[in-house]
Amino acid sequence: MTQLTLAKAVNAGLRRAMEQDPKVVLMGEDIGKLGGVFRVTDGLQKDFGEDRVIDTPLAESGIIGTALGMALRGFRPVCEIQFDGFVFPAFDQITTQVAKFRARSLGAVSVPMVIRIPSGGGIGAVEHHSESPEALFAHTAGLRVVSCSNPVDGYWMIQQAIRSDDPVIFFEPKRRYWEKDEVDLDPGAAASLPFDRAAVVRPGTDITLAAHGPMVRTCLDAAKAAAAEGRSIEVVDLRTISPLDVDTVVASVQRTGRLVVVHEAPVFFGLGAELAAKVTERCFYRLEAPVLRVGGFHAPYPPSRVEEIYLPDLDRVLDAVDRAFAF
């Protein structure tokens, strides 16, 4: 076991994928000599060369469009979008081309691409550096959308995403890049869970919190605080947003009878709405309270001096928990 930050764990996962498959190439802005602005690709160009760790021109649509072309030639490109807010110039290529290609070819051609997006707020950044656009991608058939919350998942899920024959949007919670955990880098080690499955990361009996990416840590902290008050909270790390592992959430709600969905993205038309609808359909008679949502507001992501008000935190999560019990 090795102590790794999330950034270093994803780096180790990328390295392992590149060692195992010579067709894996990395593409992005500043990912070579600099190692990426978050250093997630640190050292990889030195070891794998400029042809496999490709510093690209500053054009996101260009990155995704050319990556699709490379995938058609048999490569497995892993693209880095430097910040969440910069994915939008590539939104057209991702949704109209990458997502649809396999269906348009009637299954003749798969597009094994991974699009890594450091996402979410909480780092005091300027505008366009703190977004959580997962719902926009989950709404598009043909894409898989996953979100890692910790170093172990960062290490394994990036490898699973690269091995996937489907295009994967891979969200990395940038404010958790420096959080550490023990990761088993032994070549014989294996992932404990497929990347299209959610995980109960803290068992509890009274209420379920479902979250992904950066909010998993927040929910675990909330659960710990609530435990001190005698309330037993179960936390589900969703891990995958498309497909959504509804079964795991439903199983949890069948035990607890209450659900709060937590994400940084705006609640309006968000993941929480989808999950609330699904859980309501399947757990209607078991629910003790409506499914509640905690998330960003229907406002542009605010200036960083007030982002802590915008972002769900321990208090906002516990406030929703209290409301769920007040029904």
């Binding site: 490709i54 690209t56 649509s61 260009g62 072309g69 003749a108 498309s242 959504l244």
Partner: protein, 392 residues
């Protein structure tokens, strides 16, 4: 913007002083966007069918090769006419005609080796023909039975791309892949004059230049992007843009199949030998409507159309064949018969295209199972089965 505002403002009633009425600001500062002088085209065949030489683009063709170029052009024109007819008869929802662009497509298409990969728009029926794609396959998306419907690897001809200019990036990426796996294939990105305004096309120029990718940008400048003339897309001749990106650009007579063949062949060889990208602007004309849904009489004059009819690419090659005594009536009759037969095949092939099964919409989006797809597929199957039980 100020121009428009000023125009609107000038139409509102003003106090009757009336003496200082100024020209709307926008109109006063607007410069003509007409190109003053059109540059020379690379030409190997004059509109009257006279063979001329170009120092940079020599071309040796046997009589048989010249005849086969003519044959291809006649046949794809027939493919196209059949597409239009099938749309008019309600068998296709839409058709995008290539009429007038046969030389550009057959010339460039025939320049490719089998392993060279083409990234078309949705109008490259002639290139598809050269690459060996059965014409009926092109009808699927226009008939609405699929959204693509062929295996791009089968003929190294990518799926048609409807979002304007997207495929230029795919072509460059594919070429970057060729650079990395040691092949010596080259790639052609097709696009039109309208697409030259798209960010994706310009980004593809940047990427191709930056990596010196083995790609040829083949722009069919057919003068019209639906209703918008080329003057709305560029202020300098398009091919001159290449210089700004750091690779060569040329303008070729797009109605001259010999020139299109020779120039594309040279560009592909350049790409193959590591000399990087090249932009070819094939100067041609869209003789028909943008698609069967379009009405070009609303935006262009019949004089203009007639002036281009005089430069018809098929008539030009036929004039050459006749002038040189390379073809006789038997030859032309043979091709006409072949075209009739092809048209019949297309027609019957079109009518035989099966409607997709409703549940097939779920089939190919994902390579591996996806829970949401599985759930919705099961729902729809069950729902549809309910009608069958009721005997509807």
């Amino acid at each position: 913007m100020t121009g428009r505002r000023a125009v609107e403002k000038s139409t509102t009633p003003t106090p009757a002083s009336g003496s200082t009425k100024r020209a709307p600001q926008g109109r006063g500062t607007r410069r003509t966007t007409e190109l003053k002088e059109e540059p020379e085209l690379i030409q190997l065949l004059t509109p009257t069918g006279e063979r001329i030489d170009h120092p940079d683009y020599p071309l040796e063709l046997s009589p048989e090769q010249a005849r086969s170029l003519y044959r291809d052009m006649v046949l794809v024109r027939r493919v196209d006419a059949e597409g239009t007819a099938l749309q008019r008869q309600g068998e296709l929802g839409l058709w995008a005609s290539l009429l007038g662009q046969e030389a550009a497509q057959i010339g460039s298409g025939r320049a490719m080796r089998a392993d060279d990969f083409a990234f078309p728009t949705y109008r490259e029926h002639g290139v598809a023909w050269c690459k060996g794609v059965p014409p009926v396959n092109l009808l699927g998306m226009f008939r609405g039975v699929n959204n693509g419907g062929w295996d791009p690897y089968e003929n190294n001809f990518n799926l048609y791309t409807i979002v304007i200019g997207s495929q230029a990036l795919h072509a460059v990426g594919y070429a970057m892949g060729v650079q990395r796996d040691g092949g010596d294939s080259a790639v052609i990105a097709y696009f039109g004059d309208g697409a030259s305004s798209q960010g994706d096309v310009l980004e593809s120029f940047v990427f191709a230049a930056s990596y010196n990718a083995p790609v040829v940008f083949f722009c069919q400048n057919n003068q019209w992007a639906i209703s918008e003339p080329v003057s709305r897309q560029f202020r300098v001749p398009l091919y001159q843009r290449a210089a700004g990106f750091g690779f060569p650009g040329v303008r070729v007579d797009g109605n001259d199949v010999f020139a299109c063949l020779a120039v594309t062949r040279a560009a592909l060889e350049n790409a193959r030998s590591g000399q990087g990208p090249m932009l070819i602007e094939a100067y041609t004309y869209r003789m028909g409507a943008h698609t069967t849904s379009d009405d070009p009489t609303r935006y262009r004059s019949s004089d203009e159309v007639e002036s281009w009819r005089a430069k018809d690419p098929l008539a030009r090659l036929r004039a050459y064949l006749d002038r040189e005594g390379l073809a006789d009536e038997t030859f032309y009759k043979g091709i006409e018969d072949e075209a009739d037969e092809l048209a019949e095949q297309i027609r019957s092939g079109c009518l035989a295209l099966p409607d997709p099964e409703p549940l097939s919409m779920f089939e190919h989006s994902y390579a591996a199972p996806h829970a949401q797809v599985a759930e919705e597929r099961a729902f729809l199957a069950d729902y549809l089965a309910g009608f069958e039980e009721e005997g509807h």
